[in-house]
Symmetry: C2
Subunit: 364 residues, 2 copies
């Protein structure tokens, strides 16, 4: 069990042996309300599903459209109609979308109620479940609404990862890789060694390995979010790979999963860094080869991208202006730097790097 410090309230991250054990933990002494991903609900252990209190249970689709200001109103009303009030507890079960929705609801209901989170995807367990943030869409604006409001407890259950499609596991590992690249060479090498032959493991055999890297991911993220909860400095580096990654997601209409887009974004950043002499071309090429299992399955989808659309997506990013582009580059393992590139550097480094990525030519 770890305890994470937050300006709002400290919170614990606990490992539980099963969803039944987690359910027993959240219902000890209290009668919580539940907000559950509908797809997760369908896959729940039938005994656990049967013991959820139907009069305090709200199911929700886990889609981008659902985690939007307007579509969340009926969810608020449903929870209020089922009696959730100031002294209540909301237990949220699901991946990133449910976490965003649950965090936002809990943070503004009665100016903040208790909530606990059972993250059910690798992305949510390894990365998003700690750090306090919610991101909610409003109208055409992505992630422009949100709050900093951590759960009062996070309950990790390995078994939820057993039923995830391999695509989602691979995507989740993208953020795991990012955190180890940020931590330094040793963590990254240990992760790569552990992931050797990972794709051939069965869904049960993977679990201990994933659980270990969930914890190793938190080991990297926890001190950063504790020192900079509100994203003013150091924490911004956790967005490594995200400037370009978001553009890849956007331009493929989310056809490239988030963690894979982050891997592509990190390769873009490394390639740009090489063109600027911050790392060697050999280093950039070696990284692209080692991360091949993450980008190769998406080569066809990448080949369909038009460079003009990718640049337009980058231009829509609020951090980028006509004068240039702000992104995180690297001087090697654990040495990432927030950098502003001039329009000239966009032409001489960014566009060639992205073009190579689209055409799966990683030779910088």
């Amino acid at each position: 069990m770890r305890t994470i410090k937050s300006r709002s309230h400290d919170y614990t991250v606990e490992e539980h042996a099963s969803s039944a054990a987690a359910l027993a933990a959240v219902t000890r002494d209290v009668h919580p309300h539940f907000l559950v991903d509908r797809a997760v609900h369908d896959l729940l252990d039938p005994a656990v599903r049967a013991s959820l209190p139907t009069d305090r249970l709200v199911l929700m689709e886990a889609s981008e459209a659902a985690k939007s200001y307007g579509p969340l109103e009926p969810v608020f009303l449903d929870l209020l109609g089922r009696g959730l009030r100031r002294n209540g507890l909301l237990v949220v079960v699901g991946g990133g979308v449910l976490q965003d929705a649950g965090c936002f609801i809990a943070s503004v209901l009665a100016r903040g109620i208790r909530w606990e989170l059972v993250p059910t995807t690798l992305l949510a367990q390894a990365d998003s479940c700690i750090g306090s943030k919610s991101s909610i869409n409003i109208g055409p604006y992505k992630n422009q609404i949100g709050t900093f409001y951590p759960p009062h407890r996070v309950l990790l259950v390995q078994d939820f990862l057993r039923t995830l499609p391999f695509d989602e596991i691979r995507s989740g590992l993208g953020e795991v890789i990012k955190l180890q690249l940020l931590s330094g060479e040793q963590g990254f090498e240990e992760l790569m060694a552990d992931l050797e032959g990972f794709a051939t493991l069965g869904s049960v055999d993977r679990l201990p390995l994933l659980a270990r890297w969930v914890q190793r991911s938190m080991d990297v993220k926890q001190p950063v979010i504790e020192r900079d909860e509100f994203d003013r400095g150091e924490r911004l580096l956790l967005n490594y790979g995200h400037t370009f990654g978001h553009a890849f997601e956007s331009v493929t209409d989310f056809g490239i999963p988030h963690g894979i887009a982050v891997v592509l974004g990190m390769l873009a950043a490394t390639s740009i860094s090489a063109r600027l002499g911050m790392v060697t071309e050999d280093q950039a090429g070696a990284l692209a080869r080692r991360l091949r299992p993450w980008h190769e399955p998406y080569a066809e989808r990448l080949a369909d991208i038009e460079m003009a659309d990718l640049l337009a997506a980058l231009a829509r990013d609020k951090k980028n202006t006509a004068a240039g582009l702000t992104c995180i580059l690297t001087r090697g393992f654990g040495r990432m730097e927030r950098t502003s590139l001039s329009q000239e550097q966009v032409y001489s480094c960014v566009i060639p790097a992205l073009s190579d990525l689209i055409h799966s030519e990683f030779g910088v």
Copy 2:
């Protein structure tokens, strides 16, 4: 100028000589967006109105219906469409409704942006502008959504009080009276002495007196909200008069203004306290006589209230259960106490006290 401590960020309360001076202060070095009460906008000094940037200006109706989750979506979209983002500043100009809407918007836009508040009613200047809270309706649920997020600066301009209808001034004085009753006998007596003949003063002559009691009100409220920002203990006493007050507002469909309803609520609480032997009947009767200028103009509206409706409104209050009623009673000036009344005490004390109030018979 005073500085108020908050868990989010400390903030200042400044007095400015005119709306033009306040506008100059908020636009120094920055290009803020403005969220302004439409009615206030119509009454603004024409030169000030002309210098507001129309491309960054959003007007809003100040109604209960407008400060609701759904109706706020177009306001968010309008502000986003006019370019308000993470590094922006939102200046909010208006009374309580605008403050609630502006506070909520600023607190969840990009997980919290800078905002500054120009309160334009006596209620907002003397009471609500400090204390961090927003209260937003959702569907049929009143004030169930909200945040704690103080403005980064409060700018007081006396002149806004000049154009307020006398009804609103009188209502605002209701909260001023409440704060002095909470502070003790001396503050209350000084206030009563100052208010002698107040109704006969012209709208300009009132201003220095009102400005003084705005400051005296903050003197009482500031230490309480600094010690208990999140309403866990001591701050709850600032709700003196509000349990019954809300019922009077609700049952008259807001036909009794908020501050007057609070006065009536305090008289109810005092009368109940007398029936429980916490104060003498003489003390309760004397207070009712001294506050006659506040309740007498509403005698007709009070006479129309059905006791059954008033009790139903109390029962809808989330703090009250079938077992009884939680309210703040008094042992005299500055000695208020949060008390749970049994169902029997509701019959023997609360109902007779409310019945006397409805019939304007203050003899307890």
